[in-house]
């Protein structure tokens, strides 16, 4: 899935505008209400329906679900089936690693960091889901789980509060600033071997496997799990980690969030590029590397898409310079599918 174009009427969902609003709850409200109002003209999504079909009564069925009107017409017992059972669990797993704090430094880069973008999105989705009486939860992680709020119908405020903390932590560290000391310390002393497997190169950066394994143990009820990350890991490793959650019957949605700079690599000046997670330095002349870099990013994305498709995981990549409406569309589309197949 590619980033969506701005839907008419949803311009105010521009992340740059949202970033000026300090209250995350208000941001979520603005987003959701604006988004829903925009949907009135949307041909793609309809509201959810309660009734799905009738089926013959089976001993043990609740007699309260018998459709008595149909019994009067047909003299047979039928039970009503509803498509969507509300009150589902909705857990957002949010990557808060240093790389997510990146905010574009080039002229074409986004004005908000990936983490801010993810926080807006999470807040909006949590607000939206809470309005649907879903149980909302949040897990943040970098190398390990940082914060975990189990899904609950009453946890919206806690989720928004946790998001606010993560958001402010990301906002206080501007572009170009050094990564956290502990990360730099871990990365210093050796430069990643370019020939080593990517999962080995990832030492010192976000590790998906362990946090997701722990979360799979924590999430005991089937949930819709939304993973928001920049996914700087080997796609195989990403989906090996995701499989832990899938194995528990959860439905997975994977939002791949990238800054425009990470996609286009628009830099012109030669210089030393520093990995904000590992601290590794590379002297580069970007103009000579741009084509190869973009090809590698594209290959990475395609591999993620392919693996997601194989594992029946909804995958979408987002550019943080674009409005978050696309993300909302993607979520709602996925939620619709998941509820339909239940």
């Amino acid at each position: 899935m590619t980033p969506h174009a701005i839907v008419p009427g949803t311009e105010f969902l521009d992340p740059a505008i949202l970033s000026r609003i300090g209250n995350l709850e208000f941001v979520a409200k603005v987003v959701v209400e604006g988004f829903i109002s925009g949907l009135h003209r949307s041909p793609h999504l309809g509201s959810s329906t309660d009734f799905a079909e009738h089926r013959p009564y089976m001993p043990g069925d609740d007699i309260r679900r018998i459709d008595w009107r149909l019994f009067a017409r047909t003299d047979r017992f039928y039970v009503k089936e509803f498509e969507a059972e509300t009150n589902t669990n909705f857990l957002v797993i949010l990557d808060v690693s240093p790389s997510m704090r990146y905010k574009g430094t080039s002229e074409t880069g986004s004005r908000v960091s990936k983490l801010e973008y993810a926080c807006f999105l999470t807040a909006a989705l949590a607000y939206f889901s809470s309005g649907q009486r879903d149980r909302v939860g949040l897990a943040t992680f970098d190398k390990d789980i940082v914060d975990y709020i189990p899904p609950s119908a009453r946890h919206l405020q806690q989720v928004l509060y946790a998001l606010d903390r993560a958001y402010r932590a990301g906002a206080t560290r501007g572009p170009g600033e050094q990564p956290p000391a502990e990360v730099t310390r871990e990365a210093s002393g050796r430069t990643p071997d370019p020939d080593a497997p990517l999962d080995q190169q990832a030492t010192g950066r976000t590790m998906l496997l362990e946090p997701l394994r722990k979360l799979s143990d924590a999430v005991r009820r089937r949930s819709i799990v939304l993973l928001i990350s920049d996914l700087y890991q080997d796609p195989r490793v990403v989906f090996d980690a995701v499989d832990h959650l899938r194995g528990r019957g959860n439905d997975l949605i994977c939002f791949h969030v990238l800054d425009r700079d990470e996609i286009e690599f628009p830099f012109t000046e030669a210089g030393s590029f520093i990995d904000v997670e590992t601290g590794a330095r590379m002297p580069l002349v970007p103009s000579y590397l741009r084509t190869q870099y973009k090809a590698l990013v594209q290959e990475h994305t395609e591999q993620l898409q392919r693996l997601a498709r194989e594992r029946k995981v909804d995958y979408a990549r987002f550019d943080t310079s674009q409005p978050i409406a696309g993300a909302l569309f993607a979520y709602l589309g996925a939620r619709e599918r998941f509820t339909r197949v239940r």
């Binding site: 990146y102 600033e177 190169q201 030393s272 990995d275 590379m282 002349v285 000579y288 870099y293 590698l296």
Partner: protein, 696 residues
């Protein structure tokens, strides 16, 4: 190729600036934080390296421009001569092989010969080589030859000498050989241990232009050598049988003190041995017990144990009987009281040499009184006539000296036989004292080149101007007589004339204080002794000679005492043979009266009836100065030699080119400058293109 302004080469340091700009500053100043280098690290390594070396061509152009600018300002020029190795055509080389005895240190001599052979081996067919060896003097062992075998045989035949090192004669010889060479390229290969003492900055060389000097240094570092550098003897008394105490001086060129056993032999008999510790880079004295030696000339040898340089471990000398110089003073019948007292005391007071003075009245003279006299002083008496006078004249002819002090003697009383010998006319007595407080005449001019006065040449060493002369005899010099001193009125005060082997001197005033106050002046005593030494032809006995010295029998006639009668110039020389330590014989003749002493050891002078082993020994030692193994930088020697040559030629070293040729040789800097500007233009074009590419 050389540089006129080599300091500009330091400008190459500026290359560091573009390097810093291209490789260091750029990286440090532009730091881009990026979420992950995961993809960038997967870009093939070579691609990354290319990024680092971006604009390498631009960088190379900038560096090249800088180098060209530096090279242009350094003003390179090409010397007129082609280099030896690169030049085509015949090449002529002179190999100078140091054979001084210091080359016997360790394996220096073998290394030197090997180096000389290697220098021969480096020549190509058609090249010419001359082998020359040198020590004090240089000699060519071969003619310029293209036959390597001949040159190598000459090197094989070369032997160490006992002489010291002198580079100037060797380089002069090489210069002379190469000066007549028509080869387009010429050089000198100097194989030596490069002792500093072998080179004198005053040496004048005339190396031909465009002759290179290549040096092969075979010296060792941290040399250590013990040498016996001199010996002194001290007799307890004037008696011929008095015991002699021998002292030897040792030197140590090593960096550590060394204790050595020093032994003494006299007449082939071991006298004693003593242990001496010679300090590092210093000297020490070994004193042996007093020993009685035979009356005849005795051979002495001082030895120290062998070390890396054996040649200077033995020191040879001779001990001759200490014979006093016999002087006869002839006084007039009516001599003044103490007329010869001052003169006599002046001679007798010293012992180097010792003078034995006898005084006779003129009326008691006999011919026998002159026998064996070194000097006869006629103190205000006329020269004797008759048989006595003839005897004195014979002694004069045979080498004795006569000092004639005419005083107030009437000129007409001088016998006519003496007139042709003296060549000095006696005029009136001049009174220089007067009632006006006049203090007398002065000795205004003396000839410091004469041995009589050379001891007074140094400032403050004797003031003859303070001598007051009240009366003097006016002397008229005739013929070839020499005036050694004059009064302030120009009248000769001291006149000298050689007669046969002897000398006749005439002194214009008195020897006592009656005519002058000279006897009370400080210069009197040394003056009288110098006068007696010179007139009596006294020469210090030589206990030893140094290898390289010349034994001149006309100067060292005392060596023949007891062997043959002395022969006057023009008279046939008696048959005298000098046998070297290696038993080479040199026969003195009328035309050859000097022989170089080249071997260390005891030479022997033999008369016609002298058996081998019973002749007069002549000790010859290696040059002690050669024991100073202080090393000099060969480049310094070459620079000094070429600088001397250049100064003599009035041009730069080895450069005899015309101004036009010089300009031609230096014009390369124009090309370099033009090249630098071209490179800068190319750099501008390239950088503009690259800038456009980046912008696009």
């Amino acid at each position: 190729m050389s540089l006129l302004a080599p300091w500009f080469v330091a400008g190459l340091v500026a290359i560091g600036v573009p390097i810093a700009v291209h490789l260091i500053n750029r990286e440090r100043k532009t730091v881009v934080p990026f979420p992950s280098l995961m993809f960038l690290q997967r870009v093939p390594y070579r691609s990354v390296r290319r990024q680092k070396l971006r604009h390498l061509l631009l960088f190379a152009l900038r560096c090249l421009a800088l180098v060209l600018f530096v090279a242009a300002f350094a003003r390179p020029f090409f010397k007129g001569g082609r280099s030896v190795d690169a030049a085509g055509g015949a090449h002529e080389r002179v190999i100078l092989l140091d054979r001084s005895y210091s080359m016997g240190y360790g394996d220096h001599w073998k290394a030197a010969k090997d180096s000389a052979r290697a220098a021969i081996g480096a020549l190509r067919p058609g090249d010419l080589v001359t082998i020359a060896t040198f020590a004090n003097d240089a000699a060519a062992l071969t003619e310029p030859t293209g036959i390597r075998a001949d040159a190598e045989r000459a090197i094989d035949r070369a032997t160490l000498s006992a002489e010291g090192t002198r580079y100037a004669p060797a380089l002069k010889l090489a210069g002379d050989i190469l000066a007549v060479s028509s080869a387009p390229t010429r050089d000198v290969v100097l194989v030596s241990d490069f002792q500093r003492r072998g080179w004198s900055s005053r040496a004048e060389l005339r190396m031909p232009p465009n002759v290179g000097i290549r040096t092969v240094d075979v010296s060792s570092r941290d040399v250590a050598d013990i040498a016996v550098t001199s010996v002194s003897t001290d007799r307890g008394s004037a008696a011929a049988t008095a015991p002699v105490t021998v002292s030897a001086r040792l030197s140590n060129t090593g960096a550590a003190p060394k204790a050595v056993d020093v032994s003494l032999e006299l007449g082939g008999r071991a006298i004693g041995s003593t242990r001496v510790t010679v300090p590092a880079s210093g000297s020490a004295q070994a004193v042996f017990p007093a020993a009685t030696v035979p009356v005849s000339v005795t051979r002495g040898v001082v030895r120290v144990p062998g070390d890396a340089l054996d040649a200077n471990n033995v020191f040879r000398f001779t001990l001759a009987p200490d014979e006093a110089v016999s002087v006869l003073v002839v006084e007039p019948v009516a001599a003044r009281a103490n007329q010869s007292l001052f003169f006599r005391r002046a001679l007798e007071i010293g012992d180097a040499p010792r003078f034995k003075v006898d005084v006779r009245r003129v009326d008691s003279l006999t011919p026998r009184d002159f026998a064996g006299r070194a000097l006869v002083v006629l103190d205000e008496v006329t020269p004797p006539g008759g048989e006595t006078g003839a005897a004195l004249r014979r002694e004069l002819q045979d080498g004795a000296g006569v000092l004639f002090v005419p005083g107030a003697v009437a000129a007409e009383r001088v016998p006519k036989e003496w007139t042709p010998l003296m060549q000095v006319g006696l005029a009136e007595v001049t009174q220089r004292a007067g009632p006006g407080g006049f203090t007398g005449a002065r000795i205004a001019r003396v000839s410091y080149s004469s041995p009589v006065f050379e001891a007074f040449a140094a400032p403050g060493s004797g003031d003859f101007a303070s001598v007051h002369v009240f009366q003097h005899r006016a002397l008229r010099v005739n013929g070839d007589s020499g005036v050694l001193a004059s009064f302030d009125d120009g009248t000769p005060a001291l006149v000298e004339r050689s007669v046969g082997l002897g000398r006749l001197l005439v002194w214009g005033t008195s020897l006592d204080e009656s005519w002058s106050d000279l006897p009370t002046q400080p210069v009197f005593l040394p003056f009288m002794r110098q006068l007696a030494r010179h007139a009596g032809r006294y020469s210090d006995p030589r206990p030893w000679f140094t290898a390289g010295d010349v034994l001149d029998l006309t100067r060292h006639g005392e060596l023949l005492d007891g062997l043959v009668a002395r022969a006057a110039p023009g008279q046939p020389l008696p048959p005298i043979v000098l046998a070297s330590p290696s038993d080479k014989r040199f026969r003195f003749s009328d035309s050859v009266r000097a022989v170089p002493l080249t071997e260390a050891g005891f030479y022997e002078l033999r008369g016609p009836a002298t058996a081998a082993g019973s002749g007069r020994p002549v000790a010859v030692n290696v040059d002690p100065a050669e024991s100073d193994l202080a090393h000099m930088d060969p480049a310094e020697l070459v620079a000094a030699a070429l600088a001397t040559t250049a100064a003599a030629n009035g041009t730069a070293a080895g450069d005899n080119s015309t101004p036009a040729e010089k300009e031609h040789a230096q014009r390369v800097w124009w090309y370099l400058l033009a090249g630098a500007f071209l490179v800068l233009a190319a750099e501008t074009i390239l950088s503009n293109r690259l800038s456009g590419t980046v912008s696009a």
